[in-house]
Symmetry: C2
Subunit: 291 residues, 2 copies
DNA sequence: CGGACCCATAAGCCACACTTGGGTCATGGA
DNA sequence: TCCATGACCCAAGTGTGGCTTATGGGTCCG
């Protein structure tokens, strides 16, 4: 049973005649007649009795009309719901992001979205880049706010990568000292951050000619700076971590050899066409400063 | 939003990929791709995210899928209901018929229908021919069992007329007497039946050269025969009324001058294609004796 | 790096579906 | 009675939507 013909039948029942239904549909009368005849042929029952003064429904027609009304109601409701999503009156966007982004960039963007479009619900999950990317790939999240060192993050798979900002990585040193570059820290005690940061740090040190001795490990940039301030070691931190929190006693040194951290979002292809996702993306771009 | 495309989308969501949906539909992959693209264009939102390993639904897709499932369920239920009607497992037929038909012909036919198709409910209303025809014309009944004298009943309008039987009208006389034809009854007291029977009787008498004196009026053929048996008058009755009930003391005389009564059914054009109506029609034809 | 699996796009072609035109039937007014 | 109106159906012409074939891009896996 062709549902389009069902709706034509419904219009006939509503209008009370084939001609009137045709007018309502913007068609000619034979078009309606043919549709109705085809529908009746397909169900094997007359649905409408044609009289000179108009039409009346058979029992089968009355039964079918109730179903047709239900179908039309579903279609109408579907259009309403989709319009709400399209106009950002409703919707959901799930963002997985790494900890230091959650501290600064993300709250601003989410706040802006909540203000401009209160119907959108934002789901926020703190996750390291590999887990965030996996969640997006599995459909458990819409956006992954992730980073890579001097390159796109690994494990993107078929996801689309959109860089947001590139920031330098700085040396973080105790207040007292005369060190001014990486290669002077071959013998220092090092504090490692998250796994990926650690790997990058080790890579940079090897490039500089030594193997760093990792004494402590924490991915909390506040803890790290406290450790450094007490003279328990040295470390490297990306600029945004130092913007989010800067211990007053640590010494920060620009060191090009530590490279850059690239921060951006990843999403499934086409997901940036989903209004709620696109809206949050726009806000993130705005927060980091323009297009 | 084209509901056929909605069902294509539903199949995509169910199958998990465009290619699999195409297989299920017996189409090629581009056909599904085009339908889905058209649907997404019409709603202005992506519904399905295409990945190399298959597809996943967007939020809009999930919303729409629920509606599509509801639509599909309605369509399926409609087909079930219509199949019940087509196979006479369910249905309704409303018959309006004149009194003496209700006494004999109709009970047999209804009984036969109830036995062979217990799911069919028959609604029976006793009504004089003009009212019965009006009810059918107004859609308040499916069949009108009516009669006319020597012709189709008047007031058929656009209804279809199907004669069932033709029966002679006989003279009904008191047991004692020597009368043997109509023209000998110019001076008799007459008993009139229903309005239409009375009109026919008067016409026949005038044809025979006199104006009948109508002393009594009743449309009950049992009452009529009792009046005649007591010698209170004479009358004319169609054969079936005498078959239904025959007072042992009245004398029945064949009188060609009284003409014939034609009994048949009327229905709206096309109504004989409605299974329940057609079934009762068949039973009526069977009861009166064949095709 | 080639093969297998997704998908999208372009071009071709058929058939469906809508239009046009003509005809029947019943109703209503002059 | 005659015509006008409005209902429907039927038949034939035509345009376009929609399916197919063919091709190419992309990811994942061996």
């Amino acid at each position: 049973m062709d549902p389009r013909r069902l709706l034509v039948f419904r219009e006939v029942a509503r209008a009370g005649s084939l001609t009137a239904a045709a007018r309502a549909l913007g068609w000619t009368q034979p078009a309606v007649s043919q549709h109705l005849a085809a529908l009746e042929r397909s169900v094997g029952l007359p649905l409408v009795l044609r009289g000179p003064t108009g039409t009346s429904l058979t029992e089968a027609g009355e039964v079918l009309l109730r179903r047709a009304d239900a179908v039309a109601a579903e279609l109408h409701a579907a259009e309403e719901e989709l319009a709400s999503l399209a106009q950002l009156r409703a919707g959901r966007v799930r963002l997985h992001c790494f900890p230091s982004a959650a501290a600064t960039l993300v709250p601003e963007a989410v706040r802006a979205l909540a203000t401009s479009h209160p119907g959108i619900s934002v789901g926020l999950v703190e996750a390291e880049p590999p887990e965030a990317l996996a969640a997006v790939g599995a459909g458990d999240a819409d956006l992954a706010l992730v980073f890579g060192y001097d390159a796109e993050p690994v494990g993107l798979g078929s996801l689309v990568w959109r860089p947001l900002l590139t920031e330098p990585v700085h040396l973080v040193l105790p207040p007292a000292g005369t060190v001014s570059s990486l290669d002077e820290l071959a013998g220092a005690d090092w504090i490692g951050g998250c796994e990926r940061c650690r790997v990058h740090l080790v890579d940079c040190c090897r490039e500089a000619g030594f193997e760093p001795a990792l004494r402590h490990e924490t991915d909390d940039y506040v803890v790290v700076q406290n450790l450094v301030a007490r003279g328990l070691g040295v470390t490297a931190l990306p600029e945004s971590a130092l913007t989010a929190y800067r211990h007053p006693e640590v010494r920060v040194l620009e060191e090009p050899a530590l490279g850059h951290r690239v921060v951006g979002v990843a999403h499934r292809p086409g997901a940036d066409q989903v209004p709620a996702t696109a809206a949050l993306l726009r806000e993130l771009v705005t927060v980091v400063g323009g297009g």
